[in-house]
Symmetry: C2
Subunit: 213 residues, 2 copies
């Protein structure tokens, strides 16, 4: 398998964790989204119509969108299952993943921050307030969900799931942007737990071949 990835992209980070958890070895194909490599016409036409990272290449099947990739991996390599089969638990895990993948991450990713900077010409303080605002809104929801469902060391008990795979990169991203996350106690406890797991540790941005400061 090959993964088109950018070290700091939290959607790429999700897929790296999932591949590691399933013990699937993969080659990283770096795509520098800071310099716009994800918008190059060959990439968009031949690899990923979403014009984004990540994209998984499994023989001749190429697939974009992190949640679709993780579902695909879960179908093809079901051990360990990241999306549970039991109907209500499955629903809770997908609900949690959507809160991060639809409500938090998209409004704070690189293309949005660039637009705020370059088109709307907001101040650095306004950009930072924007980022912190959506993190605070979203993480409050994450904590409410964890208050309702969290029991074990992971979001949903003793088994790691897609919820953890989405939560950890989101927290790492927010910490990198200097957000104060101390109020989100369950989330931070899960983040610390994940940091000690080799599948999560090996997926960190600083461990990637394209890492740069």
């Amino acid at each position: 398998m090959k993964l088109h990835s950018f070290f700091n992209s939290s959607t790429s980070y999700r897929v790296r964790i999932a591949l590691n958890l399933k013990g699937i070895s993969f080659e990283t194909l770096p795509v520098n989204i800071r310099t716009g490599e994800h918008r190059a016409s060959a990439y968009v036409t031949d690899v990923n119509p979403s014009a984004a990272v990540p994209a998984l290449i499994d023989d001749d099947f190429g697939l974009g969108q992190s949640l679709a990739i993780i579902d695909y991996l879960d179908q093809k390599f079901p051990e360990p299952r990241l999306i549970p089969e039991a109907i209500e638990k499955r629903a809770r895990v997908l609900e949690f993943a959507s809160l991060i993948a639809c409500d938090i991450h998209p409004v704070n990713n690189l293309r949005i921050l660039k637009y705020l900077d370059q088109v709307l010409e907001v101040s650095p303080e306004q950009k930072s307030a924007w980022y912190r605002h959506w993190v605070a809104e979203g993480m409050a929801g994450v904590e409410r969900m964890l208050d309702r469902n969290n029991t074990g060391p992971w979001c949903f008990g003793e088994q790691v799931t897609l919820a953890d795979v989405c939560l950890i990169p989101q927290i790492a991203n927010a910490l990198r942007m200097d957000c104060d996350l101390s109020a989100y106690k369950r989330s931070m406890r899960i983040f610390e737990h994940a940091g000690r797991h080799p599948a999560f540790a090996a997926a960190e941005p600083a461990k990637q071949p394209d890492y740069s400061k």
Copy 2:
């Protein structure tokens, strides 16, 4: 079943389509997101920790996040299946749905437009340009995916899927905001096809009990 819904919310619209396609009757519980009813503490604590619409109530199980709800309905009421089982087709449908649900809709929803207005105090022209920019970026990706995969009257052939359930509300939303979508020929052909389907027609904002101009 009961559905907490707002007539103009395109995520609520997705779930209404899915319920109609499966022939599940439901009671609409209107939540006015313009006046902030989705942020009321009883709603957030007891109904939907995401502090958003939609939320499905199935006996004593309440679930937020439209994609999680549709997966839940697909598990519990598999006819007709909206998320295919065949591994590569399933991946393509989820990839398409994610492009809309993660890359287009979240950056243009009401809370973002309100923040642009009220906090960043952008001009009406800047707000409109923001909306059109992300629609154009996203719809270009949608068309690239359709160019690759579309054959029949729906996004993925003869059977309606989650891809159509996500695409139609997104297009309706963009048309309401006066976006020119004439370049997206496959998308618009599917939109016109869906408009003639009773499950899609009955889910339109103007047909909802809480509709207002």
